[in-house]
């Protein structure tokens, strides 16, 4: 078939092709914001159900000024960071071992894959009973949430490195250092980084849940407390901040992936 680009009309048009510009992405959020303000204004719903956006904004500023918001955020993020460091490093090491050693694979992988099926959330009551309601259980549950996706991605990423890459290395008699950094790492890094990103998202989710249930600091606890006090404005601020952090983490990693792996054809 000739490869000409056609701008022909399709008589039986089923799909409408409107061509809006970039600004149109903002239209509906703004409309929703407007509707929200108007409905809250009308007083149809009680203060406790629907606070106007302006009030939420003021609450946000108050929380920011009093340092409360930052402190809760700090607590949450430090738990996340610590758990992430433990889980990611453990996951990387175990993943490498799983991929490279047949022994490890034979003895450990059934258990690994079984434990992997257990949702982190389900482990919260167990961890609370075993480790109490202090910091330990939260950090450990984050560790669990990060460990499994990272270990899986690492082991699969390494196993997926084509044999011929290493053969090329052997032909040129490259030393081990080169094999690892110039061949293995770039080949396996993309899926590993994806695994890390997934682990981080899941960890953030689990941490928020854990803080909702059993904590005396942190963003999750902040919104749970607010809920009990019927302060929906604080709840909204908390929800938005949680979403924002999740977004920044996730997209930050995606950007990192794109930049580091520009050579990868998508």
């Amino acid at each position: 078939m000739s490869s000409l680009i056609s701008v022909a009309a399709q008589p039986r048009v089923f799909i409408r092709r409107v061509r809006p510009n970039r600004l149109s992405w903002f239209v509906s959020p703004l409309l929703v914001l407007l509707a929200w303000a108007l409905v809250a204004q009308s007083g149809r719903y009680s203060e406790q159900l629907l606070v106007p956006p302006a009030v939420v904004w003021d609450t946000f500023k108050d929380l920011l000024d009093s340092g409360e918001l930052l402190e809760h955020t700090r607590f949450s993020l430090s738990r996340l960071g610590l758990g992430f460091a433990l889980g990611a490093s453990g996951g990387l090491l175990f993943g490498i071992a799983l991929a490279l050693s047949k022994t490890v694979e034979v003895y450990c992988s059934p258990l690994f894959h079984t434990l992997r099926q257990i949702p982190s959330i389900a482990l919260i009551p167990m961890f609370i009973l075993a480790f109490g309601v202090e910091e330990t259980f939260k950090i450990l549950i984050v560790t669990k949430a990060v460990f499994f996706p990272v270990a899986l991605a690492t082991s699969e990423g390494i196993k997926a490195i084509p044999r011929n890459y290493f053969e090329v290395g052997r032909i040129y008699r490259l030393p081990l250092r080169h094999l690892i950094f110039d061949i293995a790492f770039p080949a396996a890094a993309p899926p590993i980084l994806t695994g890390i990103r997934i682990g981080l998202s899941r960890a953030w989710m689990v941490l928020v849940a854990a803080e909702l249930l059993a904590a005396n600091s942190g963003l999750g606890q902040m919104i749970e407390m607010a809920r009990q006090l019927m302060r929906i404005d604080i709840v909204m601020v908390g929800v938005v901040v949680i979403g924002l952090i999740g977004f920044v983490l996730d997209h930050g990693f995606r950007l990192l992936e794109k930049r580091l792996f520009r050579w990868k054809t998508r």
Binding site: L4, A9, P11
Partner: protein, 272 residues
């Protein structure tokens, strides 16, 4: 040539072969704002039951021509008339076989052929019978429940032909139908197509790169030139069917055609 002809469905033909009249056809595309003339002043008359082959180098608009006739493209200048009626959209009266068979991967052979009858006013029993007949017609018995990915290229294309024929279209278009197949399968399917055409005598227009194929099957061979696409030359093939591939007359016509085509090669050098 096998003799497993089923005449009775021929008698139930609701669509008699149609006549095609193309007058002063022109087609332009817009590429980055600039108009590109793909077809210029095409004049072609196809008699009912005639088999016309179209050959030409890449870029001469032959595929665009077929797409206009079948109605997939609707904007054009000039006239395309089927039995006197202007063509402006797709219709069950006009069938097409693409180079990539375009069978739906998620349907079996039987279901794929039946798809053509979705908008056809027949009873369910009739449709089932018709589908079975056409599967037999293209010798795909036993493969009714196979999925396209399980078929060879030749088999898939045969199913596509059955799908195109089951509606008994007034005119059947074939866009390089055997281009993606290996040489042996191609020869085999050319023979099959000739057999089907002799049986049905539908009006058929086939676009092909293969000069021998064009002469083997066509009553007339149209040679098109590129940039802009227009008709350059016409050859009448007055040989009886079934034809011999190696007959001296055919070979002579082949030489004549090749000379026509090769002569326009110097235009093609600069383009891919």
């Amino acid at each position: 040539m096998n003799a497993s002809l089923k005449q009775h469905w021929l008698d139930q033909t609701t669509h008699l072969p149609g006549s095609l009249d193309i007058r002063g056809l022109g087609k332009q595309y817009a590429i980055e704002g600039k108009p590109l003339t793909v077809l210029q002043d095409i004049n072609l008359s196809v008699k009912p039951g005639e088999f016309v082959s179209i050959v030409g180098a890449s870029g001469c608009g032959k595929s665009s021509l077929l797409r206009l006739i079948v109605g997939l493209e609707a904007q054009y200048s000039g006239d395309i008339l089927l039995d006197g009626k202007r063509i402006d959209s797709t219709s069950l009266e006009r069938g097409i076989v693409f180079q990539d068979h375009r069978l739906f991967p998620w349907k079996t052979v039987e279901q794929n052929i039946a798809v053509a009858l979705k908008n056809h006013p027949l009873t369910k029993k009739e449709k089932t019978r018709l589908v079975a007949e056409h599967i037999q017609l293209v010798n795909l018995q036993g493969f009714e429940n196979a999925y396209p990915h399980q078929l060879s290229g030749g088999m898939a294309q045969r199913a596509a032909i059955a799908r195109a024929l089951i509606n008994k279209p007034k005119i059947l278009l074939l866009d390089e139908p055997f281009g993606a197949l290996d040489a042996l399968t191609r020869v085999h399917l050319q023979r099959e197509l000739q057999r089907l055409w002799v049986q049905q005598r539908s009006t058929m227009i086939m676009v092909t790169h293969d000069v021998e194929e064009a002469l083997y099957l066509g009553d007339r061979v149209i040679v098109m030139d590129a940039r802009p696409g227009r008709i350059k030359h016409e050859i009448h093939v007055n040989l009886p069917h079934p034809r011999e591939r190696h007959s001296p007359r055919l070979q002579k016509l082949k030489d004549e055609l090749l000379t026509e085509l090769v002569g326009s090669d110097h235009v093609e050098v600069a383009h891919v």
